[in-house]
Symmetry: C2
């Protein structure tokens, strides 16, 4: 059984390698493949409203997500999240558990909806999971993602109104 808790500074040595591996692959996130540790720390830890980790029963960090407002001011009632699972922990439902956790946290913080701005269309597993969790594809951005293997591919905007 995994547990999800707030990120602590001592988690960074476990979090950075999974962010680095995900960004370096260049198939799912906009962050440049050569994103530095300092840039990743800023984007994943400093800039968001909150960051979380999912841990194995023995305490090992298996995955992480951030939660933040998607827009300033008059768009700040809609939040945005990013989820990264370490490759060794894939296929165990951790992304699903984190997304459900994120929705509860978002509601507790007062957010009314959650938006994903750039879901890479070829990331079929993610698209399927978000749909299963109630997110709708509300937009398609033609060629908006420069996939490191496939070249320019479409990206999806996905959205879910949250209920308390």
């Amino acid at each position: 059984m995994i547990s999800i808790r707030r990120y602590q500074e001592s988690d960074w040595p476990a979090v950075w390698p999974m962010l680095h591996a995900t960004f370096a692959a260049g198939e799912t996130y906009a962050y440049a493949p050569q994103t530095s540790e300092a840039q990743a720390y800023h984007s994943w830890i400093e800039a968001p409203a909150a960051t979380y980790v999912a841990c194995a029963p023995d305490g090992r960090v298996l995955a992480t997500y951030y939660l933040k407002a998607n827009q300033p001011g008059l768009g700040s009632h809609v939040c945005n999240c990013g989820f990264v699972v370490s490759s060794e922990a894939e296929g165990q439902g951790i992304a699903s558990a984190m997304c459900q956790h994120a929705q509860r946290e978002a509601v507790a913080m007062g957010f009314l909806a959650m938006q994903f701005n750039l879901v890479v269309a070829t990331n079929e597993r993610a698209v399927r999971l978000w749909k299963k969790l109630g997110f709708a594809v509300v937009g398609t951005l033609p060629g908006a993602y420069r996939h490191q293997r496939l070249g320019l591919v479409d990206a999806l905007v996905m959205y879910k109104t949250l209920s308390a």
Copy 2:
């Protein structure tokens, strides 16, 4: 005949009042109505790749726009712009001229597409103008904008692939 050129520091005393009036109205931009001058300066001048002003023949600044990458890294071939016209200069085609100028500048900078992330659906004049200039509504975000008079209203994602 208006002319469009790069923003210079001496333009700020003319640019800030039109940004302030637009943000304070809270009907078209996400920026909070109470956005401070320093915050506006950061968002409109410092953060973007470039900022421009549209001037009357006598040199008066009538309008302004910014141009920046919409996403980092693997999404950075898509740009984003924001346009603000002073209330006294509305209805003269300045937004249209700026958007066409922005598309040429974006192509010159190597951008392949332009995306507007949060076009307030009730801002019918803007929606009509962007459509006329070749932008497609590629997404609708339900209740994503907290309109200061109307409450939560939809926002549109609009997108145009640019050709050199």
